[in-house]
Symmetry: C2
């Protein structure tokens, strides 16, 4: 409530529609009387030599200091000599797990109405190592790295998440029948951690089969944990089941209790500045941030307001088949608080 000292949280509005949807979050949080003081940082127009990216050193430092933040979409600028912004954040802040809850939204109809799962993606290594080279002309290779350290910590995170969120099962997703050493190590770590959680059901599912089962019957899954690339693929597939990335939140977890919640959709430059963007994914990501901060009452209050506004169906942005503006939709949520 307004009498408590505000918690400082970093806010990256991001590019394109980012500032508009960030504004929506700020308004909803203010209306819900959330005691957060935003420490806003923008993507720079120049490469900061200390980060070798368009993210400034100060903005990264802000997350490390506040230990909590919310991030809008960042378009990776075209050109050479600097790194992708999303990857810079994950690597520099050591955000080792990417958590994406994915559930059917009441009243928003897709082909599925029975989705309620969480993907937990290793976020720092695997195919995202950045190690690639040409062997000889016409022959190139990329190196996938799997370490015991990163696999253990994401596996531990996944089982702890399952336990603390009342989830019943963890599925480790892999292709160890082909990548026996890398995915094999990942699975071995999951096996080890699973032993410590006898109350959580544990299974191993080959990625191709997992994708087939997800589209046939997503209710088979609960918590899924997996290496980086599989997480990238499967989390988008799951988002597709319930309507797409405009509706699904995510949160990146780092060491020492750092959490950077993030809308993973694009910056939609075509509709930027037109008051047409759907702020749902960023709002729901903000809710994940509040839960991380243990501001559970306000998290649930805001979450219900978002869900009920969408379920009611009176105010929806164009991507959901409606004709509300961002501000109208935001106001409807505030009215539901």
């Amino acid at each position: 409530s307004s009498s408590t000292t505000p918690i400082k949280a970093t806010l990256f509005p991001g590019d394109g529609i980012g500032p508009e949807i960030a504004e929506s979050v700020k308004q909803v949080f203010t209306a819900a009387d959330v005691a957060i003081e935003w420490d806003e940082h923008y993507v720079s127009t120049e490469v900061d030599p200390r980060t070798n990216s368009f993210l400034t050193w100060e903005s990264l430092q802000s997350v490390l200091d506040n230990k909590v933040g919310l991030k809008g979409p960042m378009a990776t600028p075209i050109g050479k000599g600097h790194r992708s912004l999303n990857l810079t954040l994950r690597k520099e802040l050591n955000l080792y797990a990417n958590v994406r809850p994915c559930y059917s939204l009441p009243g928003y109809k897709t082909r599925y109405d029975d989705v309620d799962l969480v993907t937990i993606r290793e976020n720092t290594e695997g195919e995202y190592s950045g190690l690639e080279h040409q062997v000889v002309k016409g022959v190139v290779e990329s190196i996938k790295i799997i370490t015991r350290k990163a696999s253990m910590r994401v596996a531990e995170y996944a089982f702890l998440y399952a336990k603390t969120h009342g989830r019943k099962k963890v599925s480790a997703i892999h292709k160890a029948n082909i990548m026996q050493k890398t995915d094999g190590l990942f699975l071995k770590c999951c096996d080890e951690v699973a032993e410590k959680y006898p109350e959580i059901e544990y299974e191993k599912v080959v990625i191709d089969n997992c994708c087939m089962m997800l589209v046939k019957n997503p209710a088979l899954f609960d918590v899924l944990v997996m290496p980086n690339l599989y997480g990238d693929i499967i989390s988008d597939l799951c988002a597709g089941l319930v309507g797409g990335l405009g509706l699904t939140p995510s949160c990146n977890i780092g060491e020492d209790g750092i959490a950077l919640a993030e809308a993973v959709h694009g910056s939609a430059p075509d509709i930027a500045g037109k008051n047409l963007a759907n702020p749902t994914a960023l709002l729901l990501s903000g809710v994940m941030m509040l839960r991380h901060l243990k501001l559970n009452n306000q998290a649930e209050q805001i979450h219900s307001a978002i869900i009920n506004t969408i379920a009611e169906g009176k105010y929806r942005t164009a991507d959901l088949g409606g004709n509300s503006t961002t501000t109208e939709f935001t106001k409807a949520i505030i009215d539901h608080l």
Copy 2:
């Protein structure tokens, strides 16, 4: 017809339910008067040192001689010192493209009724290189290889396939925003080939986005071409849209006109020998083999009989919610010929 000299084709019935579904194919082909003489080869119980696998040298030679074959499921035996049977076939026979048409079956209801696409998977390299090692304790790596040669030939196959099958669009699936060198080379090859087919629409789609779009609206896609692992994942996802691997055919294409059609589902040891297996995937794979042999009339005749039997719904195996035996379902197809 029965008066022509029969074409010799290799048949690998495979393990588990393999022999039963292969018998179904033989009966349907005989009933349709297909002039094929099957050259049957079984998976051996001992490792053949010439192939370092349970596949004998003679069986591989048979495919090379006949240039055409049909393969049932092969369970990769557990143990060390020999290679996966499926991979042995692909590598030894240089089966560079795996083609999987995927379409909604009239009368067999899933959440989708608008699927009609073909995945074309590079089948020899990528993450399937077999190159893996431990760097130091707790750190392992797998190497993904992409070559210009293999990328060009699968891209060429995909565009030629699109053209000769009246398809309008080819989508190249990749993660070149992360694997710029490997997937970048793959895309460059697709770009080059696309130039030669101005009449075919061409687009590049990032794999995560592709999976999201596939589950939201599969009608967006037509022909998809991609590196090995993405093909493994996406072809199973697509199969899931229309009911699963029990219903979808595949064909592996090699150099010099070699084609090995293949049911890609498992050997289902739990129901093996019980006359319960669904032969549809192997039958439809057989149809792909007939089309490859330009036996188009018989291919269409058999194809229609399969489709109509499933659409009629009177005879369906247990996996499709019916209670017909393999032989009853096979007889129903023969009656529809």
